[in-house]
Every structure is written in structure tokens, then in C-alpha cells.
């Protein structure tokens, strides 16, 4: 049913039947969210329609029973989740500092290595070894990430 709540043109006059047109407003009425003309029209309809009045009473009773079940804020097993949440949200900050430190140290190490007095040949040899190691590390890490992202069973528990 696509009508604006409380739209007078879409609501049949009270007493002419057409209870379906009142269903959405009946729900807002039960939930205390119906106001103004729409409320007045529904109350007029309810005064003449025993079926809607009965339905409203049943739904109110159901609503009351659901609210009395204590399901809104049940006790959390193991207590508050804050400690676990805090660990997770604070961890990226730790990683950020660690990465910044490693990068700074690496830049300094390269500077010291380049400006040192050892032979050029030795510098080249060490440089190639380090570059080769880094390239291998990055490609292996990249492959693992691609495998993980395309794994159709990654969400399935073993």
C-alpha cells in the first residue's frame, strides 16, 4: 500500500469498511506514533469497526507480552565487550607507530650504508641481496592476499 500516512484522499470515510486502508495507521496508533487528523480518522473508524478494535486489542496484548520478556537488554555472557573492542580499535595505532619506526630505521640504515667507506662492489652485492629479499617477500605476501580474497570457502568454519 503506497500512500502518505494520514493522506485524507487515500483514507475511506469511517464506517464504510475498507479496513485495509487503516492497517498502517493502526500500527502507528498502537505504537503511539499516530497524531493529528490521521489519529482522529482512525479513532472514528475504531468507534464503528469492531474487527479493527479487536485486532488492535490483540496486537496491544502481543506487544505487551513481547516487552515483558526482558529481551531488550539481556545479560551479556562474559560481561562487557569493551576490553575486546578496545584491543581491536587500539591495535591499528600500534601498527602505525611500528611501521613508521621501521621505515625511519630502514632509511637511516640505507643512508649509513651508502655513506660508509666499504667497497662499491660490496655495497652492490649487499644491495642486490636486500632488494631481492624484499621483492620475494612482497610477492609472496601479495599472492597470499589474492588467495585469501578469492577463496570461496573463507567464511566457512572448519
Amino acid at each position: 500500500m503506497n500512500r502518505t500516512p494520514g493522506d485524507p484522499a487515500a483514507v475511506p470515510s469511517a464506517g464504510t469498511g475498507g479496513c485495509e486502508a487503516y492497517r498502517e495507521d493502526l500500527m502507528r496508533y498502537i505504537d503511539g506514533e499516530l497524531t493529528g487528523d490521521a489519529l482522529r480518522r482512525l479513532e472514528e473508524h475504531l468507534a464503528e469497526c469492531t474487527e479493527c478494535t479487536r485486532e488492535a486489542a490483540v496486537f496491544r496484548s502481543l506487544k505487551g507480552e513481547l516487552q515483558n520478556m526482558g529481551l531488550q537488554e539481556p545479560e551479556i555472557p562474559g560481561g562487557s565487550v569493551w576490553d575486546d573492542v578496545n584491543k581491536s580499535v587500539a591495535r591499528p595505532t600500534g601498527w602505525m607507530f611500528l611501521i613508521i619506526g621501521v621505515v625511519l630505521y630502514a632509511v637511516y640504515a640505507v643512508y649509513v650504508f651508502i655513506t660508509s667507506s666499504i667497497d662499491l662492489l660490496e655495497k652492490l652485492a649487499v644491495g642486490f641481496i636486500v632488494i631481492g629479499f624484499v621483492v620475494l617477500l612482497v610477492t609472496v605476501a601479495y599472492d597470499r592476499i589474492v588467495d585469501y580474497r578469492t577463496d570461496p570457502y573463507k567464511g566457512v568454519e572448519k
Partner: protein, 188 residues
């Protein structure tokens, strides 16, 4: 929690202050747990999902519109995680060839006729009846009648118009009533 206090805390959270997040987590974790538990019906899974919801919400605070209620946005994050979880669980069960892990207990129709007995067993009856509803109907009953959210908030969480929420609430309540009547509960 007062709206102004909540806004100030969220501003600090956006700036990366994790300590400002603690009062928010403690204020809303109970409601989120109630929602998650109602949807996934397992306390341990619900706890994990609540925890994950808060972590994801913190990391996505830039996406939150401060003009809207924060709790509704938070619940939409939690609800989406619960739906993803339920999809994965169903997929896993379909692979395993399993049906429902905890099938709803069938109550003998006609067993509940006495008014006093009905009052004593109404909680179990309603839980069973809720379990038997379609996901859409159960979800809207949980949000409206258990979490007591307003239609506007539910519309935001489910990403549907308010009129559709009211219509869905009507059919959900009617389905719940029909299930209860099938279980022997009589309404005047």
C-alpha cells in the same frame, strides 16, 4: 546518554581517541546484544557480533551522518553483520546437509487452554512462535516490539520507507498471532 554528550564523544572518537568510545560501547552494548541474540539465537555468536559491530562502527565513523540517531546507525551495522553471519551459517549447513540446529519445539495444540497456564508458558510460546516467523517478520517484531525503536529508526536500519515498515509490522504481528493460535493460544 544525552545527545550532546554523545556527539562530543563521537567527535573525539573520529579524531582517533579510543578512550572516548568506552562510554558509548557501555551505553549501547546491551541493546545491540539483545538485537543480535534475537537474530542469531546463540549467546556466544551474538557477543562476537556485537564486538565486531562496535569495531566496524568505530572504523567507519566517517560514514555516520550526525543528524541521524547514532543508536539506529549502530544497530544497522549490527543487523547487517548478523544477516551476513546467518547467510554463512545457512550456507555451511547446506554444505553439511543439516537442517536447523535448534528446531523450534512443537507445542501440543490444545495443551494451553487454561488462562493461568497460558500466562506461565507465554514466554516460551512467544519465543517458539517468533522462531517460526519469516526472517523479515521476526526482524521487524524484534526492532519494534522488543527493541522499541521508532518507525523512522527502523526505516533507517532496514533501508525501507516508513510506510513499508508500518505495513511489515502489521503483517508480522498478524503472522505472530496466527502462529500462537496454531499453538493453541486463544484470543478473544
Amino acid at each position: 546518554m544525552a545527545v550532546q554528550v554523545e556527539r562530543e564523544l563521537l567527535l573525539r572518537c573520529r579524531a582517533g581517541d579510543t578512550e572516548a568510545y568506552e562510554p558509548i560501547v557501555r551505553a549501547y552494548e546491551g541493546r545491540l546484544f539483545g538485537l543480535a541474540l534475537s537474530l542469531v539465537r546463540n549467546a556466544e555468536d551474538a557477543r562476537d557480533l556485537v564486538q565486531d559491530s562496535f569495531v566496524r562502527a568505530f572504523r567507519s565513523l566517517d560514514l555516520y551522518d550526525p543528524e541521524r540517531p547514532f543508536v539506529a546507525w549502530l544497530m544497522s551495522v549490527c543487523r547487517n553483520l548478523c544477516i551476513d553471519f546467518l547467510r554463512r551459517r545457512r550456507y555451511q549447513r547446506s554444505l553439511d546437509g543439516d537442517e536447523e540446529e535448534n528446531p523450534p519445539q512443537i507445542t501440543d495444540p490444545g495443551a494451553v487452554t487454561d488462562q493461568a497456564t497460558l500466562a506461565a508458558e507465554s514466554r516460551d510460546l512467544i519465543r517458539t512462535a517468533l522462531d517460526r516467523l519469516d526472517d523479515d517478520h521476526r526482524e521487524v517484531i524484534i526492532l519494534k516490539d522488543i527493541q522499541e525503536l521508532e518507525y523512522g529508526e527502523i526505516a533507517q536500519i532496514l533501508n525501507i520507507p516508513q510506510g513499508t515498515v508500518a505495513s511489515r509490522v502489521y503483517y508480522a504481528r498478524r503472522s505472530l498471532r496466527a502462529e500462537l493460535e496454531r499453538m493453541g493460544v486463544e484470543y478473544p
